[in-house]
């Protein structure tokens, strides 16, 4: 019972601070909203096409790019604004048809179309589509130029001949289809909500360890031992306090995102259990940090580092599927987030307890180990330094 009282004090201390409330409850929801709006869902790559000098051939290329049918939105853009728009991210990529495009082709010179993209897979994808479209146009022009040269006619006549033959000639084609199970659960906010949940649970738990560091520094722990309270009760209370804050935050985020953003967490019991397991890891990590750090500043500094670093490594900012196999292994070795991300992904795809059993087991095991280490550290700091009640060993020694 005393453990509960200690936990309650801990909880009150955390919730009384208004800036804490902002960090624990408001920020995470805000981030889910902003991130979900910014990067959630299936984004259609936006490509700008700028034509430095208009002409029938240049316009035809633009029309072909616009009609590519590969799920890319192509819009006309001004020449001067194209590169800045890509640089600022208003566009994912840009295509610049140079001045003198028509004239150069008619004269039989080679022309280069400039392609500029932001780094990343979207750029790679758009680049391949643009190359294919330009390649198709280049093929037609090459045939037209060849015919014009062979028969001594203007290019436009050559192209007319080519188009006529192309329409009647049986041609090789490409048929494309996709297979496999779609990993995208579809909801705009689904992935964002679960990854932000993990990120914030861990950061909160680690930064909350500042309170424990202060408790230790001020000698509150030792004074508590002067009362008829066992070391076990104190440790349980401190641990429970950490856990309650994280679980409160986790539960709040799950319910709020489900109500506000229509996030589907999957099987509610399994999702709840997974959140609890991860919250235990986070709470235990906070307890360990609180038992190790010498100053509150050090605790919050390392809390930010571990909270953001492990989250990034664990696939909360970039899906684990995009990691190289080596980095995926690293993620699962160092970051508890990776296991929880796997679990939430499985649940999002309609999985149940059976599908997340391994993830749950790993998380709980980590939580137990971290708690055990933290308790050992804290016990050693208390007078007597053993597990027996400090009262029998002379709590007044300090």
């Amino acid at each position: 019972m005393k453990a509960l009282a200690i936990a309650a004090v801990d909880l009150r201390r955390t919730l009384r601070d208004r800036t804490n409330l902002v960090f624990v409850f408001v920020f995470p929801l805000l981030l889910v909203f902003v991130l979900g709006t910014a990067v959630g869902g299936v984004a259609v790559p936006r490509v700008g096409v700028a034509v430095a000098e208009s002409g029938p051939l240049a316009d035809r290329l633009v029309a072909a790019l616009a009609a590519q049918g590969a799920g890319i939105s192509v819009r006309r853009h001004s020449v001067g604004e194209l590169a800045p728009a890509v640089a600022h991210g208003e566009l994912d990529a840009g295509v610049l048809v140079p001045a003198g495009y028509d004239a150069a082709i008619r004269a039989g010179h080679a022309v280069t179309v400039e392609f500029v993209a932001r780094p990343g897979t979207v750029g790679t994808r758009v680049g391949s589509v643009v190359r294919a479209v330009v390649g198709h146009e280049a093929g037609r022009l090459r045939a037209g130029l060849f015919v014009a040269a062979e028969r001594g006619v203007p290019l436009d006549d050559g192209l007319r001949g080519v188009d006529g033959v192309a329409a009647s000639l049986p041609r090789l084609s490409v048929s494309a289809r996709t297979v496999g199970t779609d990993l995208d659960t579809g909801g705009r906010f689904d992935t964002t909500a679960s990854t932000q949940l993990l990120l914030f649970l861990f950061v909160t738990a680690l930064t909350a360890s500042v309170a424990l560091v202060e408790t230790r520094r001020l000698g509150v722990l030792r004074r508590m031992l002067a009362t008829p309270t066992s070391t076990a009760a104190i440790l349980t209370g401190e641990g429970l306090g950490r856990l309650t804050v994280t679980v409160l935050q986790g539960g709040f985020m799950m319910v709020a995102t489900a109500l506000l953003f229509d996030v589907r967490w999957g099987d509610p019991f399994a999702a709840g259990a997974l959140m609890l397991a991860f919250a235990s890891v986070a709470g235990a990590a906070g307890l360990l940090m609180g038992s190790l750090a010498r100053t509150p500043q050090l605790a919050s500094a390392i809390g930010i580092l571990l909270g953001l670093g492990l989250a990034a490594l664990g696939g909360t900012m970039m899906p684990l599927e995009f990691f190289t196999p080596f980095m995926r292994t690293v993620a699962h070795v160092v970051s508890p987030h990776a296991w929880a991300v796997d679990g939430f992904t499985a649940l999002g795809r309609g999985g149940g307890f059976g599908d997340i059993a391994v993830d749950l087991a790993v998380l709980l095991a980590v939580a137990v180990v971290l708690t055990a280490v933290a308790c050992r550290r804290l016990r050693r700091e208390l007078p007597g330094g053993t597990s027996r009640s400090a009262l029998t060993r002379g709590a007044g020694r300090s």
Binding site: A38, V39, A87, A166, L172, A176, T324
Partner: protein, 384 residues
């Protein structure tokens, strides 16, 4: 003036001895930038796309296509495995073992209506799109040669003449090609971007160690003792602000050098980077000083500053690509972070001091406004 330097020197020495200050100023931003760049950088230079090819034709045309793939494999752009059975290829794509499979049908070279089948895994849309584009480019090339030959031959239809023309047409280079100029444009690469984002984000925490110590000195009673000495109150305030500026500037300088040396970040023209960094330090000091002037206790100042630093960082686009939402992008210009990162973007394409002047001016504007408010408010705090 001497008093200012002595006070600031004392504060700086204290901070350098304080392990958590050094952690926040240098170690954490550097480590996080390294982690982010590793996690996200893998995406920038993708692993080779894993393809499989099934050749049911075994003729020269199919061989030419496999040859195209092999040449890409030599450059580590793709990996190609040969699979005899088309069903097996589809299964590999289905299970995600490969990103996409090509099935080259029998008669690809002779039957004009044959189709190259591209089977892509649904979770590898980029690799599947690239596969489709590769096949399309190959088919387009073949078709254009055939069409050119037939159109040039005209009537009557003479297969031998067409074959001879096709050979000539194949040597005719297509007049249009695509050149990727991304590297020359004003886009920060992933490593530099994360180095800069983390540096400016933690700068707003680093500068707190100067101004906020004013509150600590007041609480600890040392401020009163300082003011009892023959030191003008303005000197104490100036010293605190100077500490913030110097500590912030040195942390940025160390981060810029360290990320360049150990992470391969390329910040751009040194003079322009220095101007941007200096302006950012001033802006951060100003903003932080305003918060310090409003807070009653050091804890309060610390948590308000943390909230503000998070909020400004978030809006400034430090954590995620806000430019996807135009309204958020517009908001980012209301933060020093947005201007700092924008200014560095101008430098990525080889810009110089002139290109970053707007960003420098904007951040100096932040510094001037917030600094004025802070000085007016804090002057009261250091009145004896």
């Amino acid at each position: 003036m001497r008093a200012v330097l002595i006070l600031a020197g004392k504060d700086l020495r204290l901070r350098l001895r304080d392990r958590s200050a050094v952690l926040i100023a240098v170690v954490i931003p550097f480590t996080l930038a390294l982690i982010f760049a590793t996690v996200f950088g893998g995406n920038e230079t993708p692993r080779p796309f894993a393809y499989a090819v099934t050749d049911l034709d075994r003729g020269p045309v199919a061989a030419a296509f496999v040859d195209v793939l092999d040449r890409l494999a030599e450059r580590d752009i793709v990996t190609v495995r040969r699979v005899a059975d088309p069903a097996e290829a589809a299964e590999l794509a289905d299970g995600g073992t490969i990103d996409a499979a090509f099935v080259l049908p029998a008669g690809i070279g002779t039957d004009g209506t044959a189709a190259i089948e591209v089977i892509g895994n649904v979770n590898a849309p980029t690799a599947a799109d690239v596969a489709r584009s590769l096949a399309a480019a190959f088919v387009d090339d073949l078709t254009s040669v055939r069409v050119a030959a037939v159109a040039a031959a005209g009537e009557p239809h003479d297969p031998r003449r067409i074959a001879a023309l096709a050979e000539r047409a194949a040597r005719f280079t297509p007049p249009v090609s695509v050149v990727d100029v991304s590297a020359q444009r004003r886009i920060l690469d992933t490593r530099t971007w994360f180095a800069a984002a983390m540096a400016v984000f933690f700068l707003f925490f680093t500068v707190q160690f100067g101004v906020s110590s004013l509150i600590e000195e007041r609480a600890g009673g040392t401020l009163g003792r300082l003011l009892a000495m023959p030191v003008p109150p303005g000197a104490v305030l100036t010293a605190k602000l100077l500490t913030s500026v110097l500590f912030g500037a040195s942390s940025l300088a160390v981060l810029i050098v360290a990320t360049t040396a150990f992470m391969g970040a390329s910040w751009g023209a040194p003079l322009a980077v220095a101007a941007l960094a200096g302006a950012a330090v001033l802006a951060a000091t100003g903003v932080t000083a305003v918060v310090a002037s409003l807070a009653r206790t050091a804890e309060q100042a610390g948590s308000w500053q943390a909230v503000l630093a998070m909020l400004l960082g978030m809006l400034g686009g430090v954590f995620f690509p806000i430019e996807r939402v135009p309204a958020l992008k517009a908001l980012s210009w209301a933060t020093p972070h947005g201007w700092f990162l924008g200014g560095l973007g101008e430098l990525a394409g080889g810009g110089s001091l002139r290109e970053v002047l707007p960003a420098v001016a904007a951040m100096c504007g932040f510094a001037a406004v917030t600094g004025a408010v802070a000085v007016v408010r804090l002057r009261k705090a250091v009145r004896p």
